[in-house]
């Protein structure tokens, strides 16, 4: 059509402008800032080269390593948990049973609860003395826990609270499951195979693209956990839940060391990029695309 380029740019200009103003611009600015000692309360800002990065990795900043460790631990626990449980729940929701849509609503509903409210509910559920979880555990004779208040249980507890909100991931899995052609299962019926061989030879290979998508999104999201740290634990006890972005926020906004915090941000960016790349690369050997075989 005539003047396609002009109109194309005109229509997309808000988005392009938004990208330049709110993504690319700030990205470059943050890289530059990370090479300075910018601090709101310091009269002068000077260029310090890679000093911030040296300070990060030089071992001087113990909290950096702590926050890195805590966050990796969180990601390592949360990503498999989210993927496995979401997939299992989606399998259940994909059964042909009465009340299917009600179950689906129940599973999805928690994911729309505001983070602050969800945090508050879980704080109360996991209250060591009066919470429901410990009462239920002791009622059936199981050991109780201090959950969010003990150094070695705080990260798993935060993982637990976030599992309440997996509804979105479940629904994406469900969409992947409903997309599998029925004939494939019928073939297994003919061969006399049961539900296990269906799961093993059809369902799992056919949803690998969905597993791939959900894994990437969950990794990216988990590395950026913030609200839970801010509201539930404030990084405690003894910095055992000092999640990376929480530490970044504290450094940049509470301690106003914005130059240093920008370096923190870039390190996080590179970490996320690296892991996303790893998953992308590995996908060649386990993600199955219909029509293209493994690609």
């Amino acid at each position: 059509m005539r003047k396609g380029l002009f109109y194309g740019l005109l229509f997309t200009s808000p988005a392009i402008l938004g990208f330049l103003l709110f993504t690319l611009g700030p990205m470059i600015a943050s890289l530059v800032l990370s090479l300075t000692d910018y601090n709101v309360f310091k009269a002068q800002t000077s260029f310090v080269g890679l000093d911030n990065y040296v300070r990060l990795f030089g071992g001087e900043d113990e909290l950096f390593y702590r926050s890195l460790g805590v966050t990796f631990y969180f990601v390592l626990l949360r990503v498999p948990a989210v993927i496995l449980i979401s997939f299992a729940v989606a399998l259940l929701l994909n059964m042909n049973v009465r009340g299917k849509s009600i179950f689906r609503t129940i599973i999805y509903l928690p994911s729309i609860v505001p983070a602050v409210a969800s945090a508050m509910i879980w704080m109360w559920l996991l209250n060591p003395d009066l919470g429901l979880v410990n009462s239920a555990l002791s009622a059936v004779g199981l050991p109780t826990s201090n959950w969010l208040y003990a150094e070695n249980s705080v990260v798993p507890s935060v993982v637990l609270t976030t599992l309440w909100g997996i509804g979105g991931t479940v629904i994406i899995f469900l969409a992947g499951l409903t997309g599998i052609p029925k004939q494939y299962y019928e073939a297994i019926d003919v061969d006399g195979g049961g539900w296990y061989s269906k799961l093993r030879h059809i369902t799992i290979p056919m949803v690998t693209p969905t597993i791939f998508f959900n894994t990437i999104m969950t990794i990216i999201g988990s590395f950026q956990v913030f609200n839970e740290a801010y509201i539930l634990t404030e990084g405690g006890p003894n910095n055992r839940s000092l999640f990376y972005v929480f530490y970044l926020w504290r450094t940049g906004f509470r301690d106003t060391e914005m130059g240093y915090a920008s370096a923190l941000a870039w390190v996080l960016f590179l970490i996320i990029l690296f892991f996303t790349y790893l998953v992308f690369r590995s996908s060649k050997s386990w993600v199955y695309y219909e029509g293209g075989g493994r690609s």
């Binding site: 059509m1 396609g4 380029l5 194309g8 740019l9 005109l10 229509f11 997309t12 808000p14 988005a15 392009i16 938004g18 709110f22 993504t23 690319l24 611009g25 700030p26 990205m27 600015a29 943050s30 800032l33 399998l91 259940l92 929701l93 059964m95 049973v97 179950f103 609503t105 999805y108 509903l109 729309i112 505001p114 983070a115 602050v116 508050m120 509910i121 109360w124 009066l130 429901l132 009462s135 309440w164 979105g168 629904i171 994406i172 969409a175 997309g179 049961g194 539900w195 990216i220 950026q224 609200n227 801010y230 509201i231 972005v245 970044l248 926020w249 940049g252 941000a265 996080l268 960016f269």
Partner: protein, 276 residues
């Protein structure tokens, strides 16, 4: 056949248990919001409030100016919704219904920004708004919505627009229609459900946003519900009756909006997930 039937029964049982687990926090929330403190602290826990303490809501919602917070949140949500719906539909149109050189390349670059952690742009964006004198105003929270309304929404709408047959546009062009007419008269009416999805997601994301208001707002009088609730928690740490009542009040609008728009939600997630 026997094993497949028992698998069904076991599956159904598992579904019931999982659903019960997912519902429990809601039940716990509501039951706590309607009890007085002494019953809340009874061990083992009781489920039915005796008597129902409806006064908890009144007390919780008047200790802090939740009315103001509600109004503030609504203002931010409305502004963000207007910006997002307007500009994301226009941009998605440009990325799907107009042929131009470099279109898919630019779209790809913009899409890749979804991978970027918000933390990277956080500090410079904050400094930028502060330099412009907009710290402690709603501008930093609303204005970005008028620049495309987020790549996620543009992506979702574009996926939808691509499913609309080209013939419609071509017929309109023969009739002498320009791109604006096609956008407004053909694409927008045909994509009503996708626009609703975008609006619903935007509503929830804005209503639930915590970090944005936390960073850009300083004055109590400008606070949103999420911030107000967090402040409430800091002050009334052990007042679980009031905390749960306030939480219920914050959660309720989300639940209502979700239940009304449920059908569109599930469609929308499917649309992004499948093509993702």
């Amino acid at each position: 056949m026997k094993t497949s039937q028992s698998v069904q029964v076991l599956g159904y049982l598992a579904l019931l248990i999982v659903s019960a687990l997912f519902m429990t926090p809601f039940v716990w929330l509501i039951r706590s919001s309607l009890m007085d403190l002494s019953q809340i602290f009874t061990m083992p826990p009781e489920w039915l409030p005796r008597p129902f303490q409806w006064g908890n809501f009144k007390k919780a919602l008047t200790i802090l100016p939740f009315g103001t917070y509600f109004l503030n949140t609504t203002i931010i949500v409305m502004g963000t919704l207007a910006g997002t719906v307007l500009t994301s539909t226009i941009a998605a149109f440009g990325f799907s219904r107009i042929q131009w050189k470099g279109r898919d390349l630019i779209f790809g670059i913009l899409l890749s920004s979804m991978m970027l952690p918000a933390a990277v742009t956080l500090i410079p964006s904050f400094l930028g708004w502060q330099m412009l004198g907009f710290y402690d105003t709603y501008y930093p929270l609303i204005a970005p919505a008028f620049f495309g309304g987020g790549m996620f929404n543009i992506f979702l709408l574009r996926q939808f627009y691509l499913t609309i047959p080209r013939d419609f546009d071509e017929a309109a062009v023969v009739d002498g229609a320009g791109y604006f007419t096609i956008y407004f008269r053909i694409i927008l009416p045909l994509s009503r459900s996708a626009v609703i999805v975008v609006a619903l997601f935007t509503f929830l994301a804005t209503w639930n946003d915590f970090m944005g208001p936390l960073i850009y707002l300083k004055s109590d009088s400008l606070f949103t519900l999420a911030l107000g609730l967090q402040m409430f928690q800091g002050t009334y740490t052990a007042q679980w009756d009031l905390l749960m009542a306030a939480s219920t009040a914050v959660v309720l609008p989300c639940v209502i909006v979700f239940l009304i728009g449920q059908r569109y939600f599930l469609e929308g997630i499917t649309l992004t997930g499948l093509k993702g």
